[in-house]
C-alpha cells in the first residue's frame, strides 16, 4: 500500500488570524506627540540678590484669584479682553530718550510701559486657583507675545515668527538654519518674553 502523504495544513485562515492581530495593534496604537506650553523656571539663587527696581508702570500684574476671576492691574477683566490688554501694555512704548521704542505702535501713554524690553508681565495666582484657569491665562499671555513677535517678524522678514520657530525646530528644514537662528534672536530681543510667575500667596 502506498504511503499516504501527510495532508497539508490549510493555511487559508492564517490571514484571518493575522488580520485579527493587525486590528488589535491598529486600535491600541497611539501615534501621538504631546504638545504644550513650554516655559523656563527661574533658577534658585542662593545668595539673596537685590531684585532690580522696576518702575510701577513697567509691571503688568495679572492675578487669577481662587474663584478664577481675573484681576488685571487691580481691576476685574473679562477673560476675552486679556490678550488685547496685554498687547496694548507691551506695545505701548511710552519711553523717552534712551528708552524710546521706535517699532512700537501703541498710543505711548505715560501710564503704561516704557518699551517692550522693560515691560514685565507678572502672573500671580492663589493656591486655590484651578490649574485650567491658570493655563488659560498663561496661554493668552503667550499669545499676546506671539502676536507682537509675528508682527515684527512680518515687518522685518515677511514671515511669521511662529513659522520661523517651527522651521528652526524641524530637523528636515532645508534652509539656512544659522540665519534663521539669528533672525529669531533679533525678534526675541525686540519682544523678550518677560513673564514672571510669582510664588502664590496663601
Amino acid at each position: 500500500m502506498a504511503k499516504r502523504a501527510a495532508p497539508e495544513v490549510n493555511a487559508g485562515s492564517m490571514a484571518d488570524i493575522a488580520f485579527l492581530l493587525l486590528i488589535f495593534f491598529l486600535v491600541t496604537t497611539t501615534i501621538e506627540t504631546d504638545s504644550g506650553i513650554t516655559r523656563k523656571l527661574p533658577p534658585i539663587d542662593d545668595e539673596q540678590e537685590e531684585p532690580p527696581i522696576l518702575k510701577e508702570r513697567n509691571i503688568f500684574v495679572v492675578l487669577v484669584n481662587s474663584n478664577g476671576d481675573l484681576l488685571v492691574e487691580d481691576e476685574i477683566m473679562e477673560f476675552k479682553n486679556l490678550r488685547q490688554a496685554t498687547i496694548d501694555f507691551l506695545d505701548n512704548g511710552g519711553g523717552l530718550g534712551d528708552e524710546a521704542c521706535d517699532y512700537c505702535q501703541g498710543p505711548r501713554l505715560t501710564s503704561s510701559s516704557d518699551n517692550p524690553v522693560k515691560a514685565v508681565v507678572s502672573l500671580q495666582n492663589d493656591r486655590k486657583t484651578q490649574y485650567g484657569r491658570y493655563i488659560a491665562v498663561q496661554n493668552e499671555l503667550v499669545a499676546a507675545y506671539n502676536v507682537l513677535r509675528d508682527r515684527e517678524a512680518n515687518r522685518l522678514y515677511n514671515i511669521d515668527f511662529t513659522e520661523m520657530e517651527d522651521d528652526y525646530n524641524d530637523p528636515e528644514f532645508q534652509g539656512d538654519k544659522d540665519k534663521l537662528k539669528e533672525r529669531i534672536g533679533v525678534i526675541k530681543e525686540l519682544f523678550p518674553q518677560k513673564l514672571s510667575e510669582a510664588e502664590p500667596k496663601r
Binding site: L21, F25, D34, I37, R39, L41, I44, T129
Partner: protein, 160 residues
Amino acid sequence: MSKFKKKGEGGTPAISTASLPDIVFMLLFFFMVVTVMRDNSLKVQNILPFADQVEKLDKKNLIMYIYAGKPSPRYQETFGTEARIQLNDKYASISDVQQFIKEERLSKREELRDKLTTALKVDKETNMGLVSDIKQELRKAEALKINYTTKQGEASLNLE
C-alpha cells in the same frame, strides 16, 4: 486517446491568496514596532486643559513625566479625593520629586542630561498650590525646562 488530456476548459485561474498572510504580517509587524504601549498606567484623573499657543514635544526619550490630579475613581476609596502626584507608577509625595528627577537624569546618557524637559500633565481641576509646589521642587532639582502639557484647543474652553 491522448495521454495528456487538457485539464479544465481554460478560464482565468484563481488568484493565489497564499501571499496574503505575508502581506498582513508585514503590516502587523509594522504596527507592532511603532506601537508605544503606555508605560505608566494612570492612577490619577488626567483631563488636560486646552491651549493653542503650544509647542510640540518631540524626542520622547528626553521627557520626564509628572502627573498630578485627584485619584481615579477606583482609588478614591483608599486615597480620598485630594489631588496627588504620580511619578512612574506610584503615588508620590512632593518630597519625592527631586529624587525622581535625579534618577531620571542618571538613566540618560551624559550628553543628553541637560536637554531633559519635564512635562507636567496636570488635571485641569487641580489647585495651583500643588503645581507651585512641584515647580518649586523642580527649581531645587535644577530641572528648569518645563512644559505644561495641554490639549489643542481654544483656551476659553478651560473656563467652562
